[in-house]
């Protein structure tokens, strides 16, 4: 240990490094490039990862949607092509029988899946907007940001079948003048007056509602549109530790049973599994991450091998010098230690320079992607543990590769070294 922290040791090392500047620079470029590639790539990957995450923030990423279509297999006395209708009873049953479900929200809508959006008016202003009938719980699956002063639907609205609605940003812009506070005022839908209780912000993310919709309590909705127990589709969020793909098939299996649909009928119920989609997306990011790790590591190894190679040449060049040192009383351990330290030191310097360069490039990337170009890219960073890991690997590799030239340096007999002209 004393050897490593000894100022004289370092003076010896700097001396021999300074002796051949060009060689030293070329030597460290390999490792520098390796760690730079590693940092830049994994940072960029992380940025992409973060970008995806931002794009889908507010959406429970282990959620899915289930809706009905027509049957494709005759079953239980019913003919092929029967339309299946989800009912509120399905929801209850699903919730009771499948413990993996955290939230389940039955939803209805007018104006998206076929059918024209109904007209909504306020005084002389009118517009056609999609109208949703929702349980308040839907907010847990697809979060809505409500402007100050307003609120989202709640249980009381449901229970009392209140004639209230939450409107999208565009609806407000269409129906209200700029300085008007829409909360508390009324809009007319199908000759029913609904009080506006909140305005939701336009979401950057993917959702059904967009910014031109009205959201009503499910109970109010079914009275206005006379839908009874019918459910248009359902949004389901699973607990974090639940396999969503499995849950999806369980849900469908149960629904098929309830609606007398052939167990093998793949058409009767449609579903979209966000969890799966997310998994694919994040799997892609993970793959990129792995790739950058691999490429970076491979480049670092190549760089370290180059250092070993150059040190080997350098030892050969310095045969005579090492011989003189041995004649003057340098023990083999001292010679070996010096070459080893040189190797590790060069590796470290290269590594740290590479990390700095990588960080600079990432900072530049961050600034360039600051504006929303529609490219999912946010806050490219590299975890400190990755950096420390890389440095650790470099020290280990630097030591291992340094052992070769060091051993070579020691194996030169002083007499042979001195004899060499």
């Amino acid at each position: 240990m004393r050897f490593i922290f000894d100022r004289d040791t370092w003076q010896e090392i700097f001396g021999s490094i300074r002796k051949n500047k060009v060689r030293t620079i070329i030597t460290i470029i390999g490792v520098l490039w390796g760690i730079f590639v590693y940092i830049a790539l994994s940072g960029a990957t992380k940025g992409l990862d973060n970008g995806f995450e931002k794009e889908f923030q507010g959406v429970a990423n282990n959620s899915m949607f289930v809706w009905t279509q027509r049957t494709s297999i005759p079953y239980g006395g019913f003919k092929i092509g029967r339309a299946v209708q989800l009912k509120l009873g399905d929801i209850e049953d699903l919730q009771n029988k499948l413990p993996g479900i955290q939230f389940i929200a039955p939803r209805n809508v007018q104006g998206i899946f076929g059918g024209a959006p109904p007209q909504v008016s306020r005084g002389m202003k009118t517009g056609n907007y999609s109208v949703f009938g929702d349980y308040p719980i839907v907010d847990e699956i697809s979060k809505k940001k409500i402007y100050e002063g307003g609120r989202f639907l709640n249980e009381m609205d449901m229970e009392k079948e209140r004639r209230v609605c939450v409107i999208g940003e565009r609806v407000r812009n269409d129906l209200f003048s700029k300085d008007e506070d829409p909360v508390g005022s009324y809009v007319k839908l199908n000759n029913v007056y609904l009080q506006v209780i909140g305005v939701y912000k336009k979401s950057e993310n993917i959702d059904f509602e967009g910014d031109n919709s009205l959201m009503l309590p499910f109970t109010t909705y079914r009275k206005i549109f006379n839908t009874g127990e019918n459910v248009g589709w359902m949004a389901i969020a699973a607990y974090n530790d639940v396999d969503v793909v499995r849950l999806e098939s369980d849900v469908k299996k149960l629904l098929k049973k309830r609606h007398k649909v052939h167990p093998d009928d793949e058409r009767a119920f449609g579903s979209f599994n966000l969890g799966e989609a997310f998994a694919k997306l994040f799997g892609f990011a993970k793959g990129l991450n792995f790739l950058s790790l691999f490429v970076g590591l491979a480049t670092i190894i190549a760089g370290v091998v180059a250092i070993g190679n150059i040190l080997l040449i350098s030892v050969k060049e310095r045969t005579r010098e090492l011989g003189v040192r041995r004649a003057l009383g340098a023990t083999p351990a001292e010679v070996r230690g010096q070459i080893l330290l040189e190797s590790v030191f060069l590796t470290m310097v290269a590594g740290i320079l590479g990390i700095i360069m990588g960080a600079v490039v990432l900072a530049i990337l961050n600034v360039l992607t600051q504006g929303d170009g529609g490219f999912p890219y946010t806050n490219p960073t590299v975890a400190i543990s990755y950096i420390l890991g890389a440095l650790f690997i470099m020290i280990v590799l630097g030591t291992l590769i340094g052992l070769i030239p060091a051993q070579r340096a020691v194996s030169i007999k002083p007499i042979d070294a001195l004899r060499e002209e």
Partner: protein
């Protein structure tokens, strides 16, 4: 100081064995200045390497200041070299990216002398060889004679028992050679034991004793009237 008894050394050259040293006996007392002469191939360099612990004899006895030198591993040999011996080479063998003073301080570094003492001592010996003002110059900025002076200072710095010089004037013109020999004589006058391998008779005449080697045996061992180098130096 040095006791050699029945020293043998042979080298393996492919299938042949070359018997280089065929039973040397030599005794050198403290304060002697001995020239080892011989034509090339006489075994004088081999002999010096064995004395310098750079090479090991096959058989025979070698006592240095009462310490038997045999079966040394590299680490031990390095320690003994550092403690007992100072080397002066024909081609100086200074480390070319180190200044004169750093070169002189190098054996002290391996003796684990601390930095300040090292600098002080190195400067003292540079002054002794008359190169104090050249302390911060690189070897490439020095003349051959100056380089050899730095090498002598380096050999002295570790304060060894014996100085071993291998053709120390071989790369120098005769004027510079005499100057170097003058310095060697001065150092010897102070009591240092010095062995000089040379094939130049005039250099050998400047020593106090001449040992002739021929075909691996000592053929002549005479004490001579020392010629002072100073008389050649203006």
């Amino acid at each position: 100081m040095i006791e050699i008894k029945d020293l043998h050394k042979s080298y393996r050259m492919g299938s042949n064995s070359l018997h280089v040293l065929k039973g040397l006996n030599l005794s050198i007392k403290e304060g002697e200045l001995v020239a080892i002469m011989g034509s090339s191939g006489s075994g004088k360099s081999t002999f010096l390497n064995i004395l310098g612990m750079l090479d090991e004899a096959d058989t025979g006895e070698y006592l240095l200041d009462g310490v038997p030198i045999k079966n040394l591993n590299e680490t031990k040999a390095a320690k003994y070299r550092n403690k007992f011996l100072g080397f002066i080479f024909q081609s100086f063998n200074l480390i070319n990216y180190k200044t004169a003073i750093e070169n002189v301080a190098l054996p002290l570094y391996y003796q684990k002398v601390n930095r300040k003492d090292r600098q002080e001592k190195a400067l003292k010996y540079l002054e002794k060889v008359g190169l104090k003002q050249w302390a911060d110059h690189l070897p490439s900025e020095l003349s051959g004679g100056q380089k050899q002076r730095v090498a002598i200072a380096r050999a002295l710095a570790a304060e060894p028992k014996v100085l071993l010089a291998d053709e120390l004037t071989g790369a120098l013109d005769s004027k510079t050679s005499y100057e170097i020999m003058e310095l060697v004589q001065e150092i010897n006058d102070e009591g240092k034991t010095i062995l000089v391998v040379t094939h130049e008779p005039d250099i050998a005449q400047m020593c106090k004793r001449i040992v002739h080697l021929k075909d691996g045996v000592i053929v002549e061992d005479t004490f001579v009237e020392q010629v002072r180098a100073s008389q050649y130096v203006q």
